[in-house]
């Protein structure tokens, strides 16, 4: 059995930072299904989703230095990275022909790589899936409107003013719905 199989997520990231390719392989085994599922939910088709998954792992390999190897939150970093990359691709496709389509290292660092505060609690793959039933319950307590606004924002990649246009409601209402939805989720998951 590979020694990397037993390593916690954060240790695995440290091995990857030493350009240990088998550690990246283990990370792929551990996370590829989750990341692929997120990306596929956002992407228009399977081929695009597969291409984005490849690009996400290339980013992990190239930009591992941007991850906080001391106290980083591997689970949230990877999911957010995959989501950001897929949403960026979706927005580009949506805005093709109307906006400048540049993409370089600086852009990737600024808009694609997740930016987390230092006081963030760490979360790993097993913990996140252990509380899956609780997350389902928390989401089920949201109103239909809150769920729909969250869906449009997170999976459809729409910005607040776009959601406002789409639903024909004031921007302030959209902001409020998002904040209330997240507060409800937090109260249920953290507050109890």
């Amino acid at each position: 059995m590979s020694k990397f199989k037993e390593l916690p997520d954060l240790e695995l990231m440290r091995e990857i930072a030493q350009f240990e390719s088998r550690a990246l392989e283990e990370l792929y085994e551990r996370y590829s299904s989750l990341l692929y599922t997120v990306i596929k939910k956002i992407s228009p088709d399977q081929a695009t989703a597969e291409q984005i998954l490849i690009e996400v792992f290339v980013i992990i390999w190239r930009k591992i230095g941007k991850f906080d190897l001391n106290n980083g939150n591997v689970f949230s970093w990877l999911v957010t990275l995959a989501r950001n990359k897929a949403v960026d691709s979706l927005r580009r496709e949506r805005g093709a022909g109307t906006t400048a389509q540049f993409y370089d290292d600086d852009y990737e660092d600024y808009f694609i790589l997740p930016s987390f505060p230092n006081d963030m609690d760490s979360l790993d793959f097993n913990t996140a899936f252990t509380i899956k039933p609780k997350i389902e319950q928390a989401l089920s307590k949201l109103t239909d409107t809150q769920k729909y606004v969250l869906h449009l924002a997170y999976y459809e990649g729409y910005a607040i003013d776009e959601i406002s246009d789409k639903l024909n409601v004031p921007v302030e209402t959209v902001r409020g719905k998002i904040m209330t939805a997240l507060s409800s989720l937090r109260d249920y998951l953290v507050g109890e």
């Binding site: 989703a49 290339v58 949230s76 509380i131 899956k132 997350i135 924002a153 997240l182």
Partner: protein, 378 residues
């Protein structure tokens, strides 16, 4: 009101639904240590990232993993250059840090830039004065005084009097008159003054010398510290480059091999599900070249080796004996001169390290029948 506005921005940032302008504004605000309620953003970002957990997980096609590997292997030069550049940056930053003053926290306020409202009127913004967020205490920008340069000090201390002093003490003999010798007079105030001046000059010289010695000593100590730091950084850089080179050298043969266009990849595994060992054979029939990679295989005795076989029309042909050290790619030293259509299967047995003319032990790993070619890599 202000708390609500900030909470709305934090929520929007966590979900990732800010437009570009607001996103940049909020990110800059965070980067410049603007006030954020403790733990709130991190909590929300964790919650948001857990939302996909409720989805039914779907595995990507197995070929995607190979494509990831292939893409990464193609990046060896970029990685090497990146390591060197980042280390250079780190060294420069460390040098600059020692010169610059301590970081400053800016007092910032932030509010949504409301595009719609801005179109209607410039003053009607979501974040008006009443809605301003309590900002972090502003640290006043401290002007760091320029370090004093001791070498410049002597010019300031040196006075015209000091310059004149030696002339007064060592007066030319021809200026002493005969009358002065014959009729001694009480010492004139001028002579007393020049003696005092000499003493003062001597004391000043000693003080000046002491100051210079002190500054020289502290400067040398400081430089020694910097040199030690740089030496540590250089050795760390060397270690990282050595790691990168090691990685690159392990994969050089694979990188060269992937230049060929007709590569057939075949996976070999054990029929025993408890056995974790596996192997992968990559063949280019046009170039008559191939590679083999072993993964998690059983350790061998010193006189043993893994002998790889190809079966064609019921006959077994050896592709060589290998003693892998890890999961590196090994060049196949005996390419099968057989039409690829006639190849029925590949398998591996454990033989003596000199090889066996025919398989003499049980099959350890094999490709499943009917799976050749398993995959095709371009």
């Amino acid at each position: 009101m202000a708390d609500k506005a900030l909470s709305e921005m934090i929520a929007a940032y966590a979900v990732g639904c800010m437009d570009k302008q607001n996103y940049m504004q909020f990110k800059d605000y965070m980067d410049e240590s603007g006030y954020l309620p403790k733990g709130e953003l991190g909590e929300l970002q964790n919650i948001i990232s857990m939302i996909p957990v409720i989805l039914d997980l779907e595995s990507p096609d197995p070929s995607i993993k190979d494509l990831v590997a292939k893409k990464l292997i193609g990046m060896k030069e970029e990685i090497k250059t990146k390591i060197i550049e980042e280390k250079k940056k780190t060294t420069l930053a460390a040098t600059n840090l020692s010169k610059s003053s301590i970081g400053q926290t800016k007092n910032r306020t932030i509010s949504f830039i409301d595009k719609k409202a801005a179109k209607k009127t410039a003053t009607l913004q979501f974040g008006d004065d009443n809605a301003k967020i309590p900002a972090a205490p502003r640290k006043t920008k401290t002007e760091t005084p320029e370090p004093q340069t001791p070498v410049m000090e002597p010019k300031k201390i040196e006075s015209p009097d000091m310059a004149a002093t030696p002339k007064s003490i060592i007066a030319p003999p021809q200026l002493i008159s005969r009358a002065t010798i014959e009729e001694p007079k009480p010492a004139s105030p001028e002579k007393t003054s020049s003696g005092m001046m000499g003493l003062v000059a001597l004391l000043l010289s000693i003080v000046l010398f002491s100051i210079l010695s002190y500054f020289t000593f502290t400067s040398v100590n400081s430089l020694n510290g910097t040199v030690d730091d740089l030496t540590t950084q250089v050795s760390s850089l060397k270690n990282q480059i050595a790691t990168a080179n090691n990685f690159i050298s392990n994969y050089t043969s694979l990188i060269e091999f992937f230049n060929y266009k007709d590569i057939i990849v075949t996976g070999l595994s054990s029929s025993d599900t408890a056995e974790k060992g596996s192997a992968q054979i990559l063949l280019s029939f046009s170039q008559k070249e191939g590679l083999i990679q072993f993964k998690d295989v059983k350790p061998l005795q010193p006189n043993q080796g893994y002998q790889v076989w190809v079966q064609s029309k019921g006959q077994s042909y050896s592709l060589g004996v290998y003693q892998p050290g890890g999961s590196e790619y090994l060049k196949i030293n005996s390419f099968p001169f057989l039409p690829k259509e006639n190849i029925e299967s590949y398998y591996i047995t454990i033989e003596s390290n000199e090889g066996s003319p025919t398989p003499s032990t049980v099959i350890y790993l094999s490709s499943a029948a009917g799976k050749i070619p398993k995959g095709r890599v371009n």
